[in-house]
Symmetry: none
Subunit: 242 residues, 2 copies
Amino acid sequence: MTTVLVIDDEPSIARALRINLHARGYDVHVAYDGASGLSVMARERADIVIVDLGLPDIDGVDVINGIRGWSNAPIIVLTARDQEPEKVSALDAGADDYVTKPFGMDELLARIRAAERRALPQPDEPIVRAAHFTVDLAAKQVRSLDGAAVRLTPTEWHIVEMLARHPDRLVTARQLLHEVWGPSYDAETHYLRVYLAQLRRKLEPDPSRPCCLITDPGMGYRLITAPNGCVIQQASHGRQNG
Amino acid sequence: MTTVLVIDDEPSIARALRINLHARGYDVHVAYDGASGLSVMARERADIVIVDLGLPDIDGVDVINGIRGWSNAPIIVLTARDQEPEKVSALDAGADDYVTKPFGMDELLARIRAAERRALPQPDEPIVRAAHFTVDLAAKQVRSLDGAAVRLTPTEWHIVEMLARHPDRLVTARQLLHEVWGPSYDAETHYLRVYLAQLRRKLEPDPSRPCCLITDPGMGYRLITAPNGCVIQQASHGRQNG
DNA sequence: GAGGTCCGTAAAGAAACCATCAAGATCACC
DNA sequence: GGTGATCTTGATGGTTTCTTTACGGACCTC
């Protein structure tokens, strides 16, 4: 269940928020000043914070700073102050959104949903496994099977990345040149020969007999992936897992 | 460099955005209708999208849906429509923020910064361990292995923080410059060389042979993490880090 | 089998990039 | 106003990367 912390000293607003949020399945905590807001946040670890700027004790921006010191939970400012400098300072302090009173409850709820959605973990980019190396697209890194990082130049990486984003599929020379060198290099197929040879020297056990970086003569290149349980001749102690 | 795509059919708005964003170091693309907006997005992979709802061809919500089909880039709606149902449907379609015209440029820029900030990864583990030091992201402190705090200048910390937020991942020079010095410093790669040398002097046992703060020539920098209790072996024969 | 096209390999100069030292500029603070 | 810390900028030398040239082999066509 998503927990929302409301920090607002206006009882009517706090009450309206508690009722509406609770009706939609949120777990709601309410604090009526900044100090108790910070302490409730520390205790309850709310998933989302809604904070007024005009609190009786602490300035709202300091509340934002206090939370941002240790939490990345989305913070939505809900306040009557509508001057631009206040919006800017609140947002730059770490607030995620800024809604001015009077506000529409449906809009606020939609903004809460947007904040929730952003907080969901983003799917990671995959790691593409070939028979003798792996391509980690997120880390921009190629590792040999023993886990050692292989150093690639920017151009080399760009080519491997392009191939790894289309595993086992044919990538035409034109596509590669277009993506790596730009639209006016479509005819420089020789660049590819030079760089593919370089990559095979770095990544293939027998560069003259490539088994991962394959040439389709007249067509282009493709990166052959290895099935997960793939048996490699040596490197038996390895930790390649599913 | 952060790339912003503006989809708006009002020339005056589009022009104002282009000028202001460009002046702050963003790379700006402009599309004047939904169809070309979607195609520019597919081609340029903008980091942030600003979209009007009242486009001449496609409805803005459909533009949002079209982008959300394959991209998680933050989308900020900038429109004259201020009815609540439209806000709700745009936000629920996947928009991250909703700003109504007339709008303050400073506020919009602050909302863009907030969207950028959210796109930074937030590691769940607040302490990142490298072979010879640890980075405590919550406490904003670097400690050497014996537990002594290492004194870093604000800029030095900012760089270490950025690297530690992407442990083992490549961080490009542009990303670092953009985050630490601001959007208009993307070309000042020399700053990075100076500061990385400084950091290595403070954090690496042999600064001329870094093992934690690694340069990938032409690509960027990387903070190499160590598993807990890892014993570092002397560089045996080779010279490359693994 | 001659000729052409495509591919793989090697190597060298040019260009871009990086590490380092050090001095000037700026700022906060006393 | 002086002082120390920090940030910016310049200069130099070494290294890496990119581009280009050259050559030999494989394959297909005629």
